[in-house]
Symmetry: C2
């Protein structure tokens, strides 16, 4: 007998239908004549009430059930009910698939997020994390839709690289050697040289614009930063689009349209989850998101931003200077206090940014922008790329990078170079903005942080 989903029953079931379904017990309650349990099968956030007649033999089965146990059942559907339960199932047959042992960690009380982080394999069985991970899935669908609808070709950039990407250090080595043995040589390693986990797919992606014009990569990126904060993890996902014949202004239009599309799509396709976040995680998040998609984002140059912030010098631990860059407190002041919405900051000092960004005519700034979101900070990093071969080569040298490593990348500028731009969206950060979840560890299935990659 095929197991119907509770979502399908909810959407197309009729009163008095016989249904066959299955799921996990969220609560059990016994009264004089009947027993109730709430069933959750993962196809929707809400549970379905199931009723068992205490005079039936099934009542004894109910007595054996514990929270978290898995059952299959056949029953009669009752619809058109009031209040919390729009439907319930009157159970006629009940089979136990799996009893949950007594030490099932998710008992009927509120558990702290810290505690739930110690059981990442179980936390999707709580309402909060069930809502978070379904919303994450819907957010990725929005990303895929937007890029497909705009004719982007999906290239999977490799996770393994021998290019030390942006020269930022903080990379993981990958090896088949064993560092616990004595001195070995990378020449004997699997790739016959030092290999790393990629920090970005951008460099690998850029050459593909000359084949497809608009391309993107979407996969995991890695940072070996020993930062134990609510914003840092060693493995995260980013989507990185790259576009030929697009400059900074047009790219900002695209970024704004894309992030607004993602938010709108999520609001529409995760309505129960979004109400849940608004009620339990961040009061007012729905209103915030509706405002975000309705108003144009602010756009301000880095130099203007510094000037505006200098007017509020007494608000900061570290006052702003042009050379000093925007610290977190400055970014938050821009988004949370001055503009109260997402802000594009453009044209950063070139010393603060990567070698591949377009050097502006002033020779001091680059054609880059960070999109900052209230409370979150940078969610999108973007730039027009330096398409001039000689300038790019000069920048690689200036930044102290190894020219040999980048010969193939420089090829892009030798064989039909063109104006092009690209950006990266850290999906965990955008997801934090959408859900109101404060810690990045709570929007990743199995977060990897210093000293922690169990499970």
């Amino acid at each position: 007998m095929k197991v119907q989903t509770l979502k399908a029953i909810q959407h197309s079931g009729h009163d008095q239908d016989t249904v066959h379904t299955a799921g996990w017990i969220r609560t059990i309650r016994k009264s004089k004549n009947v027993s109730f349990f709430e069933l959750h099968d993962g196809t929707q956030l809400s549970t379905t009430q199931c009723v068992v007649d205490n005079t039936s033999a099934l009542s004894q089965v109910v007595d054996t059930l514990t929270l978290g146990s898995c059952v299959r059942l056949t029953g009669i559907l009752k619809t058109g009910l009031d209040g919390k339960h729009h439907m319930e199932i009157h159970v006629k047959d009940l089979w136990v698939e799996g009893i949950a042992d007594d030490d099932f960690p998710l008992q009927k009380k509120r558990h702290s997020f810290e505690y739930l982080r110690t059981i990442p394999h179980l936390r999707a069985r709580t309402n909060t994390f069930n809502a978070v991970f379904r919303t994450r899935s819907i957010l990725t669908r929005a990303i895929q839709n937007f890029l497909y609808d705009h004719d982007f070709v999906y290239i999977q950039a490799p996770a393994i690289t021998t290019t030390d990407a942006e020269g930022g250090g903080e990379v993981f080595r990958i090896t088949t050697l064993n560092p616990e043995k004595d001195h070995q040589h990378f020449a004997d390693d699997f790739f016959k040289k030092t290999a790393y986990l990629s920090v970005t797919g951008q460099l690998n992606l850029e050459p593909f614009i000359t084949g497809f014009r608009n391309v993107y990569t979407f996969g995991p990126s890695f940072r070996a930063e020993k930062s134990n904060t609510s914003r840092h993890v060693a493995e995260f996902w980013q989507v990185e689009p790259e576009m030929a014949f697009v400059g900074l202004e047009e790219m900002m239009d695209i970024i704004e349209a894309m992030t607004k599309y993602i938010i709108t799509f999520t609001l529409k396709h995760a309505p129960d989850e979004m109400v849940f976040f608004d009620t339990f995680i961040e009061k007012g998040v729905l209103e915030k998101l509706h405002a975000t998609v309705q108003e144009p984002y602010a756009r301000i140059t880095y130099t203007e931003a510094i000037s505006r912030l200098e007017e509020h010098a007494d608000c900061f631990k570290v006052p702003t200077t042009w050379e000093g860059g925007l610290l977190s407190e400055h970014e938050h002041f821009l988004t949370d206090v001055i503009y109260k919405k997402p802000v594009f900051v453009t044209d950063y000092p070139k010393e603060q940014k990567a070698f591949y960004m377009l050097v502006n005519d002033d020779q001091k700034t680059v054609g880059a922008t960070d999109l900052l979101f209230p409370k979150i900070g940078e969610v999108v990093g973007a730039s027009e790329r330096e398409s001039r071969h000689d300038v790019l080569k000069q920048r690689i040298l200036e930044c102290g990078l190894d020219l040999d490593t980048y010969q193939w990348y420089l090829d892009t500028r030798r064989f039909g170079t063109c104006q092009h731009s690209g950006f990266g969206i850290g999906i965990e950060r955008l997801l934090r903005y959408i859900t109101g979840m404060e810690n990045i560890r709570d929007v990743i299935a199995y977060p990897r942080t210093p000293g922690s990659a169990e499970f």
Copy 2:
């Protein structure tokens, strides 16, 4: 001025429209009164003919152009032409974005796939690889659609793991230690223990069925196998769905529906590319694929397969035995000679398969299936999972694995276990079947193989 795509012009342009577009030069030809060049902008496989009047000043610009160079232009659209060119553009203005240096490797001749593998960053600029990578992108869209339409929740399983997955060895270590230095301790490493690149997302994914019922992961997987064959790479992508309340038979129905959906979607959405493959890569591939989606796949048990193959013992270098397993030549005989279509082989000897597969009542076989495709071999690996706690624990011990490592995985069987099944599709292998490309290195943007992770 916004740059129009050649695809958009082709679809909605009218005769005598003024158009503004850009792209890369594929061929140049000069005749007495006019010059012609073929422009490719990546939005479609075909090129667009552009015509320049030799009496205009633009003729001198054309004289500077080389193959691979990038230009922008404004021109008048001529439609309704015959033959290969349904439209052409009469150029009125022409700007050079980037000249291709004389050593541009893709000159007007046929290059071998071996040679093109040495320039992975440029090969999408050839027709073959342009068709391959666009088809790959469309194939991933088909996967996303099928799973979204069937209410699967997308969980990103981590690439970094400290679980030695299936105990198969052949894994990459990831580390912030330096093996070129003397003896070090993994206790000092970033994760404070030995960490690996994941060979499968399955173990991390399984617990999420109790939150969502149907889930999947889709990302890179890694193998440190030192096999230099046309079928092996160190980094590849697989999609791994996992479903509660589904057994082997129903899962085979789902796998058959999903692979047929992917092929049908690709035929529909990459029509030009598929004609190209049929003409230049594998004659008859279109007919083959149409047959694949129309006929039911064969289903045969492992034991039956061995019997059938024993009838043809003289066809094989290594004759089949029940204990010896199905070698490549045996698999190919099943798909290419006996059935001439995809074949599900089910119920393999448990010694040949992983610890997490359902032990059948005969105690000798497991509820697993490999889906074999003609010429390619295994494209999908699948099994009903062993949901019984005690049996699973016993299997872990039998396979000589460390029980401590799998305690969290065993939790799934202690806290509301249920019948469940899952499978993995290696997308490169399916893509080889669809495109006719013979070498896995030729369907991956930047293939990683022993001794090779440049670019």
